[in-house]
Amino acid sequence: MSEGKSQHNFMTLQFAAKSENESFARVAVAAFISQLDPTMDELSDLKTVVSEAVTNCIIHGYDSNPEGIVKIEASIDGDIITLCIEDDGRGIEDLEMAKQPLYTSKPELERSGMGFTIMENFMDEFEVVSQPGSGTSIKMKKRIESKKALYN
């Protein structure tokens, strides 16, 4: 088996919009990425952004309705990991407002308003596409400074 950097790999995951699935989503993505041999910091950054995006789908996309479905697509191209996390929920009306640090549309739920800021900070690329009434999709990329590369 060759482990060339040109290798492409992907996985898709769909699950009920239930909060108990947040840790499952983090662990599943982390396990998929582990083939790139990421550092502990990279792994915890990726787990954090998955948690943020999935929580947004559940709380904001579906208003905590467990009938909603959250979809995660993860792919690996060489040392780049791409994550696409999406819902078919209510969408975001004012995206610029939503991206402001500390802004939250649900202060009554004690949300910190830091989700998008964290995703932007922890990933190399971050893009939100949202259509009010039909859902939100977040696409993020990060280059993994593979430990394997360091030792070679």
Partner: protein, 117 residues
């Protein structure tokens, strides 16, 4: 449930040790347990010890900020201590250290709060 809350009262200071993962799923239970303890006991100050907190996201930031407001409104102080690097980055990014001191361990946090109180 993969989050455990351990609480200890030290004079008027409530020491809360969180272990496991603090996310949206576990946040509600932490919030309820802390608010109940703060109200039931004569808590003035709160020390949050995060030595064994393996994971936290922005839902955890919401819980910490919410308890800060609650304690502050009652005239008390709040501090965090023993924070792992992953959690530290989030606290720093959110600007939390502008409103709340951070200590190395529970001992220095307790004496720190007693000095300022």
């Amino acid at each position: 449930m993969n989050l455990h809350v351990d609480m200890e009262h030290h004079r008027h200071v409530l020491i809360v040790r969180l272990s496991g993962e603090l996310d949206h799923h576990t946040a509600d239970s932490v919030r309820l347990q802390l608010d109940e303890a703060i109200q039931r006991r004569q808590t003035e100050h709160l020390v949050l010890s995060l030595k064994d907190l393996e994971f936290m996201d922005s839902s955890g930031l919401g819980v910490i900020l919410g308890r800060y407001k609650f304690i502050k409104q009652k005239g008390g102080k709040m501090a965090v201590c023993d924070v792992k690097p992953q959690v530290y980055r989030l606290l720093e990014m959110s600007g939390l250290f502008k409103i709340m001191p951070i200590y190395e361990n529970e001992g220095t946090a307790l004496s720190g709060l007693e000095v300022v109180s």
